[in-house]
Amino acid sequence: MKAWRGHLLLLVLIGGLTGLHALNHRNESQLRGDLTGFLGTSKSPGNQLSSLALIADLHLLLNRPEPISTAEGQRITELLLASDDPLLREYALTTDLCRLSERAADQIPEIQEQRVLGTNPLPLDGPWWREYVTYRRKVGGKQVGGRKRLDNLELGWYRQALRGEDPPREALFEHLVKRVRDAHVGPIPRGQ
């Protein structure tokens, strides 16, 4: 029996972790209960949960196998976009919500596209740049709004924007125009 002590210890740890998970697990109705303040009519989603806690709960609710309708997804997106908190507005532009968005003709998520690129002229300031990067530079393809990947220059501006600074307007505009011009057009050339 002494020779199996290590096994027992590891089994206890595995059981402990699994038990801990079972204890902390929240099903869909519990999650909805915790999100009542936000999912209700309140326009101040931060009242009951901190923004990060709210995002963490929404992340669970939106990714579970139980289907969330696109209508509900859009309602949550609109609630987030109407928030005073820039973090919640940016979260509305992530994969979690873009995949639930109504699709435009070319399959892109319409609400988010309008939010980020629907104004003229574009703000081109720090908060807008954070939203743009979150929406346009995401991994996952155009179904979730991702176009082109982040490059070094854009990353530098994003880090500045996180510190509350604005990127240089003209340089940013020229850079974005260049990236659109360089965008790949046509089917992927796989050589087949």
């Binding site: 290590g6 590891l10 089994l11 972790l17 669970l60 196998p65 995401k138 990947r149 996180l162 050339p189």
Partner: protein, 485 residues
């Protein structure tokens, strides 16, 4: 006493040489890093950075919609951003360069255990000179860190399997499980390989007359630790997606691998640039195309976009892929050949980056020698490594471990292939190369000779099959596409 002194002196001499080789390897990799900065982000590198930014900004780990990547590499980048903000990626590259010492050390440790000091040192020199492997130390793919963990894991497993009666066997196996488990969080490809590689140890114990219950006891301990290491992430996925999964890339890889066309990421970015410049793209041989005289015009099956839950969507993709393969067996077989050819093509991401102009002029000014060096390193490592392993690998548990690892990566590579995916095999091939250089081919038995001939011919056949694209990629690398009109 004199014999003991000689052994001690010899061991000290070996240690000094080993340290010297590791230092040389570090110097070369730091020199590459210095010349390569500021290297532009490319494809998955940008994706890893984006995931790291998501962790930093929202405190949650996003999936990639088409994949669920393991979390540790984005977590590592996030930590580097936390520590060094805008210089975070430079910090990540420096840490990666330092971590390559672990790869060099483990290559030499394995070679020494299997052969002798001389072959171990030659293996070390080959590790220093393997430019494609060295270049990953400054690129932001998880390969370098993953190998830095997997190499010592393999060294510990081989030590435990070679000497199952050693008092440190249990600790060595636990070390293997721990390092392999952590490396799975960097790159999931070793997930199924880790338990599989315990089979040679079980076989050795069985041959030594060990009772089945004792074999079970020995083998199950590292398996339990491995389970424990991957469990927290699996439970997190159960909470988020409703599925106890470690990582989910299989569905998307099946989409890319079992479809009417396939993806080779050594080729596609180069072709994209060629297409943008109005130049003819590089094409695989006509019979290997989905649209060909042999296959007509195969229609690609679409992704299961209607499934919103990630694991369900990937499951649906996997099912569609298998159905497609069953419906087109001829195409399935031909596509595997093309993929294996892509896997062993003597190109690398270093040559790809040079082609696409991602390196600054400080490094790109050495374009021609770097491309030729990379080509020679990749081609010779493959050719001499295969011959060396076939000719000189001792009949031991390590032979079983190497064979299983080789078969495993050929199998995964036959789904989605590119030069990057053969990287986990490079340390083994370097050991094979060194054994061939030091021991030659004299006095081989007939089966060993047959194995050498079969290995060489298979590799040459795959090179010939892939030659239209490989030669095109090398020409593009030597010329550089950014300079083209």
């Amino acid at each position: 006493m004199k014999a003991t002194d000689r052994t001690s002196n010899s061991a000290t001499g070996f240690q000094h040489k080993l340290l010297g080789i590791l230092l040389l390897g570090l110097l070369l990799r730091f020199a590459l890093l210095l010349l390569a900065m500021p290297v532009e982000l490319q494809s998955d590198e940008a994706n890893y950075v984006f995931l790291a930014l998501g962790l930093e900004r929202f405190g949650i780990y996003f999936d990639c919609y088409r994949y669920l990547w393991p979390p540790l590499y984005p977590g590592f980048l996030r930590l580097c951003f936390f520590l060094a903000d805008e210089q975070g990626l430079l910090l990540a590259r420096v840490i990666q360069v330092l971590s390559t010492v672990s790869i060099g050390w483990s290559c030499m440790a394995i070679a020494r255990r299997l052969f002798n000091d001389r072959i171990a040192l030659v293996t070390g020199v080959l590790w220093v000179l393997h430019l494609p492997l060295a270049s990953y130390s400054h690129l932001l793919w998880s390969e370098s860190l993953s190998l830095a963990l997997w190499g010592p894991a393999l060294a510990l497993l081989i030590a435990a399997s070679h000497d199952p009666g050693h008092p440190a066997r249990g600790l060595r196996l636990l070390g293997y499980a721990l390092l392999a488990g952590i490396s799975v969080h960097l790159k999931e490809s070793n997930l199924y390989l880790t338990p599989l590689l315990l089979l040679p140890l079980a076989w050795t114990l069985r041959c030594q007359g060990t009772k089945p219950v004792e074999i079970l006891r020995v083998v199950s301990l590292p398996l339990l630790l491995f389970t424990l290491v991957i469990l927290p992430w699996s439970l997190r996925n159960l909470e988020v997606y409703g599925r106890l999964t470690v990582a989910s890339t299989l569905g998307e890889n099946v989409y890319n691998g079992l479809n009417a066309t396939h993806r080779n990421f050594d080729l596609i970015p180069v072709n994209t640039t060629l297409q943008r410049q109005g130049l003819p793209i590089l094409k695989v041989r006509e019979p290997m195309r989905g649209a060909s005289s042999t296959h007509g015009n195969l229609i690609s099956w679409p992704r299961a976009e209607e499934e919103l839950n990630l694991p369900l969507r990937l499951d649906a993709n996997r099912r569609r892929g298998l159905e497609f393969a069953q419906a087109h067996p001829g195409w399935f077989f031909k596509a595997r050949m093309q993929k294996l050819s892509d896997l062993v093509a003597p190109v690398s991401f270093l040559t790809r980056h040079l082609t696409l102009g991602h390196y600054p002029s400080s490094l790109a000014q050495f374009r021609v020698p770097l491309v030729l060096w990379s080509l020679a390193a990749a081609a010779l490592t493959l050719l001499l490594g295969i011959i060396g392993l076939a000719a000189r690998m001792p009949a031991s548990p390590a032979a079983g471990i190497f064979a299983l690892q080789g078969a495993y990566y050929l199998a995964t590579g036959s789904l989605v292939a590119m030069s990057r995916f053969r990287l986990p095999l490079v340390p083994i091939l370097l050991i094979g190369c060194a054994s061939l250089i030091c021991l030659g081919l004299r006095g081989l038995s007939l089966p060993r000779r047959a194995l050498c001939v079969a290995g060489t011919l298979s590799l040459l056949a795959l090179w010939v099959l892939g030659s239209p694209t490989t030669l095109g990629l090398l020409r593009a690398a030597l010329g550089g596409l950014e300079a083209s009109p």
